[in-house]
C-alpha cells in the first residue's frame, strides 16, 4: 500500500496538522455505545478491513514522517524517554524483528528487509535509511535495537518481562504519551504501573487483564482501544512537559473548542519469541472536533459520551476543566436521533 506522507506537519509550536478525508474515515472511533465505561475490551489483533487502521499489524499513515521527526525532537531534549534495562536485550531484538518484518511485508513500496543468515539489510525509504547490520550484534547498529527501530515508528512502545507471575515494564520508547512517564514507571509491575487508574481496579479489570496477558500466545497478538482528549494536536503530553500543555486545558472556550482533539490509542500486545516478553504498542491518533463532526454519527455519540462520562474517569483523563465546554460546542451536531450500533460511520 502506498501512503502519501505530509512531512511538513508539526505537533508543537504553530501546530500544523490535519487529517485528510481518508484519514478521517479510517479514524479508530472508540465508542460503540452512547455511554462509556471501562471493560477488558481486548480482541485478537487480526487483519481488519482494507484501508482501516487494523488492516496491517502495524499501521503507517500520512503522518508517519512528521511523527518520526517529532520523536527525534523529543529524544534530543530528553534522552530518557527511551530506556531499556540490561536484561531486556533479547526482547529488544524481538521487537526489531517484529517491526521490520511487519513494515516490509505490509508496505513494500516504503520498506524492505533482506535477511541473509544473521546479516540483515533494512531500507526505510520515507526516512532515507539504508542499513546493513548483524542481527543479535548491538555494535552493528547506531543505537540499541529497540531505540533504533522505534525511532522509525509512530506510537509508543513498552516492553515487558514476564517473571514471578507478573509483567514488569522494563524497556520502552515513550514520546507521544497521554500523561504518563516511562522514566517513572520503568521497573514497575503491571498493577503498580496502572496504580493511578481510577475505578478499574475495583472492577477487577487489571486482575483479569494480567491473567489474560500472562497467557498471551505467540502469533496471536491482541489489541484494544483507549482514549482521552488533548488541546491542540500535541503528541507529547508527558508529565515531564506538563508546564507546556497543562495550562491549555484551562483556556478552552466555546469559541475555540474546535482546538480540542479526541485522542485514541490503538494498543497492540504481542508475545515475543526469544525473550518470552510482551511488547505493548500505544499508537495515538488525533482528530479535531471540526473533523470529527463531518461524521454525523460520531458527532452525536461524542456529545453523549462527554455528557454522561463518570466524573472519576473525566478527572483521570484530565477532561474536567473543559468537557462541558466541548460538549456545548458539540450540542448543535446532536439532534437526538438514535445512533446505530458499532463504531463505523453510518
Amino acid at each position: 500500500m502506498n501512503v502519501v506522507f505530509k512531512p511538513d506537519e508539526t505537533f508543537r509550536d504553530e501546530f500544523r496538522f490535519a487529517n485528510s478525508t481518508h484519514a478521517i474515515r479510517r479514524f479508530p472511533f472508540p465508542f460503540a455505545e452512547d455511554e462509556y465505561m471501562y471493560s477488558v475490551n481486548i480482541e485478537p489483533h487480526v487483519a481488519g478491513p482494507q484501508g482501516s487502521v487494523t488492516e496491517f499489524a502495524i499501521d503507517v499513515d500520512e503522518h508517519y514522517v512528521a511523527e518520526c521527526r517529532e520523536r527525534a525532537i523529543v529524544l534530543a531534549a530528553e534522552p530518557l524517554r527511551y530506556q531499556a534495562l540490561p536484561h531486556m536485550m533479547s526482547a529488544q531484538w524481538d521487537c526489531l524483528e517484529l517491526i521490520m518484518e511487519s513494515l516490509a511485508r505490509d508496505y513494500p513500496a516504503h520498506f524492505s528487509l533482506a535477511r541473509t543468515g544473521a546479516r540483515w539489510h533494512w531500507i526505510n525509504r520515507p526516512l532515507g535509511i539504508d542499513h546493513t547490520f548483524t542481527f543479535g550484534d548491538r555494535t552493528t547498529l547506531p543505537q540499541e535495537p529497540l531505540e533504533y527501530i522505534t525511532r522509525q515508528t509512530q506510537g509508543d512502545w513498552v516492553v515487558m518481562d514476564q517473571r514471578e507471575g507478573d509483567l514488569w515494564c522494563e524497556a520502552g520508547m515513550v514520546t507521544t504519551q497521554a500523561d504518563w512517564s516511562l522514566d517513572f514507571d520503568v521497573g514497575m509491575t503491571f498493577k503498580e504501573w496502572h496504580g493511578p487508574v481510577p475505578v478499574a481496579h475495583e472492577l477487577g479489570v487489571f486482575d483479569r487483564a494480567l491473567k489474560y496477558l500472562l497467557n498471551l500466545r505467540l502469533n496471536e497478538p491482541v489489541r484494544r482501544l483507549n482514549w482521552t482528549m488533548t488541546i491542540h494536536p500535541r503528541l507529547d503530553t508527558s508529565p515531564e512537559n506538563y508546564h507546556q500543555w497543562g495550562p491549555d486545558r484551562a483556556s478552552v472556550t466555546l469559541a475555540n473548542a474546535g482546538d480540542a482533539y479526541l485522542r485514541v490509542e490503538l494498543q497492540g500486545l504481542w508475545r515475543l519469541p526469544r525473550s518470552n516478553g510482551i511488547v505493548f504498542s500505544v499508537r495515538a491518533y488525533l482528530i479535531s472536533m471540526p473533523e470529527l463532526v463531518t461524521i454525523p454519527k460520531w458527532a452525536r455519540r461524542m456529545h453523549r459520551v462527554l455528557k454522561s462520562l463518570h466524573p472519576a474517569l473525566a478527572d483521570y483523563k484530565g477532561l474536567t476543566r473543559y468537557r462541558e465546554t466541548v460538549a456545548a460546542w458539540l450540542a448543535p451536531y446532536d439532534d437526538g436521533a438514535p445512533t446505530s450500533a458499532g463504531t463505523a460511520p453510518e
Binding site: N215, R217, E220, N276
Partner: protein, 320 residues
Amino acid sequence: MTQAATIAVEVAAIEQVTPLIKHFTLAPLAGGTLPAFSGGSHIVVVMKRADRVHRNPYSLMSRPGRLDSYEISVRRMETSRGGSHFMHDEVKVGSRLEIAHPVNLFALDKIARKHVLIAGGIGITPFMAQLQDLHAANVPYEMHYSVRAPEHAAFLDRLGEEEGERLHMYYDSRGEVIDCEGLLTSQPLGTHVYVCGPAGMIEHVVATARAAGWADSHIHWEQFSAPPVGDAFEVFLARSKLKVHVLPDQSLLESIEAAGVDVPYLCRGGVCGFCFTKVVELDGELIHNDHFLSADEKNSGKYLMPCVSRARCRNLVLDL
C-alpha cells in the same frame, strides 16, 4: 479465544537415544523457518489417528537460535494412553504431524544471579534448550542430572562436551542421589532453582528449598502430567447442549474436542490454567489431577481442568 492455528511439519530424523527415549527432528512442511522460541518452551504435537486425536505437550530441545527444525524427545510411557506409543511405533521419517506455536511456562528468570538446574530422567528435555540460552548469558549456572543407569542418560555426550564441570551426573544404579539439602543451603543470594522430573523429585526439591528459606519466586518447576487413565464417565456440556462419553484412556478435554467443541488450552498438562472450566452440576466426585487449582478450589467442586482431571459420577454438567 479458540484453539491456536497449527504448523504442518514433517519428521526429518528419528534417533533412539536410550532404550525408552526417541528423539525426533521436525522440519516445516512449507520449508523456511519455524517460529523463534525461548528455552523452556514446549509445543503441542497433534497426532491424528484413525479413531482419535492426541495432543501431547513436549519440550523443545533444539538450540533456540536454530529455526530450520525443532527437536523433541518422547519417552515411551508404560501406561500410555496412546500418544507416546503412537510417536514410538507409528511415526516414521517422512511422517507428517501438526504442531502448535511454542509456549513457555518454564522460563529462566532473566534477573537471576545464578541458576541451579535439576533434572530427573526425561525431565532433562526443557533444560537442553535453556542451557543453550545460558551459554549466551553471562550468568553462572550448574546442571544436576539424575538417571536410573548409564544407558538411560539421554544426551550425555552432548551435555558432557558442552557443559564440562557444570554438569553433575547421578546414577540410581550406583546409589547416587542429589544432595538437595546440601545443594540448596549453599547457594548465593539471588539464585533460582529449576526442577523437572518425576513428581516425587519435584516435591522433594520444592519442599527442601522452602525449608531452606527460598522464596517461591525463586523456585521453578515443570511437570506435565499425562492425563491419567480412569473409569469411563459421561458429561453434559450445558452451553453446547451435547452429551459426551469419556473413555477410560481418553482425557475429558480430548473427548470434548472429539465432540467438536473448542476449549482453549496451552499446556494440556494441568499447569497453565487455560482450560479452566466451571462445573454446573455434579452428583459424585471430581478427580483433580492438575497443579493449577488451589486446594480450596478443588474441594469446592465448582471447577476443574479438563486436560487432566476426571470425575466419578453419574451426572456431570459443565459450563461449556
